[in-house]
Structure formats: C-alpha cells, structure tokens
C-alpha cells in the first residue's frame, strides 16, 4: 500500500503508511496500544475505508471488490465471539459452508491442534483453545492470506505458546500471514519481516535481526569495582551507580580488551562484568518513545 491515511473525525489514526508485504511471508506489525494496528488491518480486510492512499490486497482493492477478496482471505479479529452453543466441529463446518473451496474440517482441526476437542461446546473451551478455533475459522475457506489482529493479547504464557505454534505451522502451508502485536518477543519469534508502527506512522521496517542490529554498533559494558579502586582513565564512562560502572561503546572488542588488560595489570576483579547488546525490545522502546513523547501528541492541529 502507498500513502495510506485514515482519520476518525479530526484524529489522524494512520498518517501515510507505505508498506509491501510479500507473498508467503509472516509479516508482523508491531506497535503499542492505539498505534493504529487494528485500523490498518481492518482497512486491508475491507471493514473500514481509507481516507487516502492506495491499497492492493492480493491485487484487489478491498474498498471496491470486497466480495472477491473475502473468499481468498481469512480473518482473526482482535476480539470476536462465536456461537457458544455449537461445538468445535460444527463451528468450523458452518464457516466452511460459506466458502467456494473450503479446506476439510478434520485437516483444519489437526492444524490448530483441536482434533480431540471436536465435539466440545465452544463455551467449554479455554481462552487459548478459543483463539485456536478463531484461527481454524479463518482457515475454513483455505485462504491465501491470513490476518491476525493481536492473536495472543490477554493470554497466559502457555496459551500464547499454543497459539504461536499454530501460527508457525502456517508457514509450512505457504500462506501469507499478517499479524499485529504489541509483544516484541512475539514479533521476533514469528515474523520473517516486521514493521514498527507508532502514532499512525511506520518508524522502522526490516527483518527482526537487522532491525535489532540497527544499533548493533553500540553495546553496553557493565562492571563493578571493589571499594576504594577508581576506574581506569582509559575511556569516558557513561554512567555510574555506586560501585557499578557503565560504558557505552561502538568499539566493543577494543574497549573490552583494554578494560580487562587494565584489570589484570592492577590485579582487580571485575565483579558482575556484563556486555549487553540492544535487544529488539530496546530498539522498539526507543523508536516508539520518540513518537509517543508528549512533545509530539497524536492530535493534528
């Protein structure tokens, strides 16, 4: 999509998004609450209409050919119920019946790991099982493209794992998956590529490793010194808390070598010596903090 924009009244929820999502990849849109993730996916799904920009989903404009699109996509909404009194198999069968070329129900249940629950009423499923049933329903029509809006928000760690494994399995089917999340670890674990969204704008895009590596040059070295020992004057320390020192460096190997050489020479033990690389989380927090700071509020003039 190109230059995608959407406002609610005077509030600009999406401020010009341009992204390409490739066939067969798992793409994650990572961003804090209120960043515009749901607005974004629901425009692609055809639920909401954009104000400006161009969008093609599987070569189709969702605003104008939503019916043609609906047979080719599967949707897991951020939250949506199902009939509590039908059982698992009936639920998937019912949704399958809406599609021209459905995938066999048993195959779907196996994919999402609900084959042993096929006769269980929906109201008796756990949260994680219901979420997997959501995915099963989205797979009913054997779609080429699957949207998952915050698939694991609000679940305990084991339920999250269950859902993650299901999503990982989709890759094997060659489906394109677009998922949104506000969990860094989720994006990192699942996505081939990701974009970070904050306040309606894309602030970074890339694959999880290189995105984290944006700041790979800067590492942080932390160490503590015994009482009465002053740190070496070899380099400028960036922070000190009590006897713990912090050194941010772009030349890690050299600085670390000098530090340990000094310590050996002085006969000092560097307690708690630790080297930290910025994680995806650090990058994410840094990037989203810039745009969500009070200086740049979300309201348009």
């Amino acid at each position: 999509m190109r230059g995608l924009k959407k406002s609610y009244g005077r509030f600009a929820a999406l401020r010009g998004i341009s992204l390409d999502i490739r066939h067969g990849e798992i793409f994650a849109l990572l961003g804090p609450n209120g960043a515009g993730k749901t607005t974004f996916v629901e425009i692609l799904e055809g639920y909401r209409h954009r104000d400006a920009g161009e969008v093609w989903v599987l070569g189709v404009d969702p605003d104008h050919q939503s019916m043609a699109l609906k047979t080719r996509i599967g949707i897991v909404l951020q939250s949506s119920g199902m009939d509590r009194y039908l059982n698992v198999a009936e639920t998937v069968e019912m949704y399958s019946s809406y599609y021209p070329q459905p995938r066999p129900v048993d195959e779907i249940l196996e994919l999402v790991g609900l084959e042993t629950k096929r006769d269980e009423r929906v109201l008796r499923l756990s949260g994680g099982q219901q979420r997997r049933l959501d995915v099963a329903i989205a797979l009913a029509g054997n779609p080429e493209l699957l949207f998952l809006d915050e698939p694991t928000t609000g679940f305990d760690p084991s339920a999250r794992r269950e859902v993650w494994e299901v999503i990982k399995n989709l890759r094997g089917l060659g489906k394109t998956v677009v998922l949104t999340t506000h969990f860094m670890d989720e994006a990192q674990y699942l996505a081939d590529r990701l974009a970070i969204i904050a306040n309606g704008s894309i602030v970074a895009e890339g694959d999880p490793a290189t995105l984290a590596g944006r700041d790979r040059m800067v590492a942080t070295v932390r160490f503590s010194l015994p009482e009465g020992i002053a740190p070496p004057a070899l380099f400028e320390l960036s922070a000190q808390t009590g006897a713990t020192y912090e050194l941010r460096t772009a030349a890690l190997t050299r600085d670390l070598h000098e530090l340990t050489a000094w310590a050996l020479g002085a006969g000092v033990e560097l307690a708690d010596l630790r080297v930290d690389r910025p994680t995806l989380e650090d990058v994410y927090l840094e990037l989203t903090a810039e745009v969500t700071s009070p200086a740049s509020t979300a309201r348009e003039p």
Binding site: K70, I75, S79, G81, M82, Y85, M94, S97, Y98
Partner: protein, 256 residues
C-alpha cells in the same frame, strides 16, 4: 454451494444453537405454552364477550391470543435479543468478513424464527382442540388465518431487526425488548380481553400499533369473529416500516 442450500444450511445451525441455549429454548419456546396452560386452567369455562353480542368460552380466546403471543416472542423477542448478543460479541462482524451474503445470513435467522412461531401455533391449536374443544379454522377462514400469520411473522421479525438499531449492547437487549412489547401486549388485549368499557386512549394505542391488529386477525380463525383485511394492511405497513429502518440503520459491528 448454491444460494438455497446455503440458506437451509444456515437455518440448520441457527436451529441447533437455539435449542441448546437454555435462555432461548425457555423464554421463547416454553413461555407462551406455559402462559397458555396457566391462563386456560385458571380462567377456563368463564365466558367473555369478544364482539358486541358475541360471547365465547375464555379458553378459546386464550388459545387464539396465546398463539399470537407465541408468534410475537418467536419473532420479535427472539430475533432482537439473539441478534443483539451476536452483534455485541462480534459474531456478526466475523460473519461480515466471510463471503456469505448478508441477505442469506439475515434470512436464515428470519426463516428459523418463523419456523419456531409456526410450531408454537400448531402446538397451541392442538392443545386448545384437545382440552378445550377450541375450533380450528378450515376453508376460507384458514386461508385468511394463514395470510395473517405470514404477514404477522414478517412484521414482528422485521421489527425485531429494527429494534436492534436502538439497543446499545447485549445487556440492555432483554430490558429494551420487554419494555417495548409487554405494555403493548396488555394494551392490545393479549393477556386480558379488551371489552367495550376500555378507555379510549387504550383503544387508540391498540389501533396504532400492530399487536392488536395481528391478534384480531389470529382470533378470527379460532374464535369466529369477522376477519378484517384492514388488520392485515396495518400489520403489513409495520413490516415495511421495520424493514426500512433495519435496512438503513442495522449495524454489524458492536456499538461501543
């Protein structure tokens, strides 16, 4: 799958969920039958005046008006409450993201409601026949009765769809539905016969809204009062009104 089998398939799932849901199976299905038994047992073998100079056994009267009441709950209450819950929980939004045409989905619910209504009418009539010798319409009155039944089910279904437009969430649904229909049922003589001493304002309310007209049309078949095509016209007008409101204001997404 072609349109027809898609529709019948939809009715099948609505039907499954309906009977398994204790709330709908009880309030929609058992309630009118329970009232029928209570009213006829308590008040049976008393006489009531149904039109100037015409007096019948009240049990026959209740067979007719409980049949009307059953149709109203099966269509109006049932559709309004079920749809509000489905909208609020996101079932409707999910459905909107699949290729099933909206009309099929809506029609599936409507056909099921009509089906439940007709089953209730049949049970009510059989009960009346068996225990109270109520007369079952035949010939021309039967035809008139069926026309009224059809137009009535359409009207109360379409009003059920329409009322969801002012229901803010599922929790409010039963309250709004009952507040809108219960007073009308009383004012229209469904529970207590309206006699010639009824105050004029009450008669006017009964004249404006569809419940009284529908009940009168249903009565004609059972009770043997005269059938008035004007009643059918008024009920049909409400059906069209309900349809227009729904068409314009019905929403598939939760109102938040």
């Amino acid at each position: 799958m072609n349109t027809g089998s898609m529709l019948m398939n939809q009715v099948k799932y609505v039907n499954k969920a309906f009977w398994r849901n204790p709330a709908s199976a009880f309030f929609t299905f058992s309630f009118p039958l329970m009232f029928l038994v209570i009213f006829t047992s308590l008040l049976g073998h008393h006489n009531v005046q149904v039109s100037p100079g015409r007096t019948i056994d009240i049990s026959t009267y209740y067979v007719a008006s409980m049949a009307a009441y059953a149709v109203i709950t099966a269509c109006y209450n049932n559709i309004a409450i079920a749809l509000s819950i489905q909208r609020d929980s996101g079932v409707l939004k999910r459905t909107r993201g699949t290729p099933i045409p909206s009309a099929i989905y809506i029609l599936g619910r409507l056909i099921h409601a009509v089906f439940v209504g007709v089953v209730l009418v049949i049970i009510t009539a059989a009960y009346g026949r068996l225990f109270y010798h109520a007369s079952i319409p035949t010939g021309a009155p039967l035809l008139e009765f069926l026309v009224m039944l059809l137009v009535g089910t359409m009207a109360f279904c379409s009003l059920g769809f329409a009322i969801t437009c002012v229901i803010p969430n599922a929790d409010a649904a039963p309250a709004i539905v009952n507040a809108s229909i219960l007073p009308l049922l009383f004012l229209s003589g469904v529970f207590i016969p309206i006699t010639s001493t009824a105050p004029a304002w009450m008669v006017w309310i009964a004249r404006i809204f569809p419940v009284r007209h529908f009940t009168l049309g249903m009565d004609a078949g059972f009770v043997g009062t005269s059938f008035n095509w004007m009643d059918v016209v008024v009920v049909a007008a409400w059906a069209i009104g309900g349809f227009l409101v729904s068409y314009r204001y019905f929403t598939w997404e939760p109102k938040r």
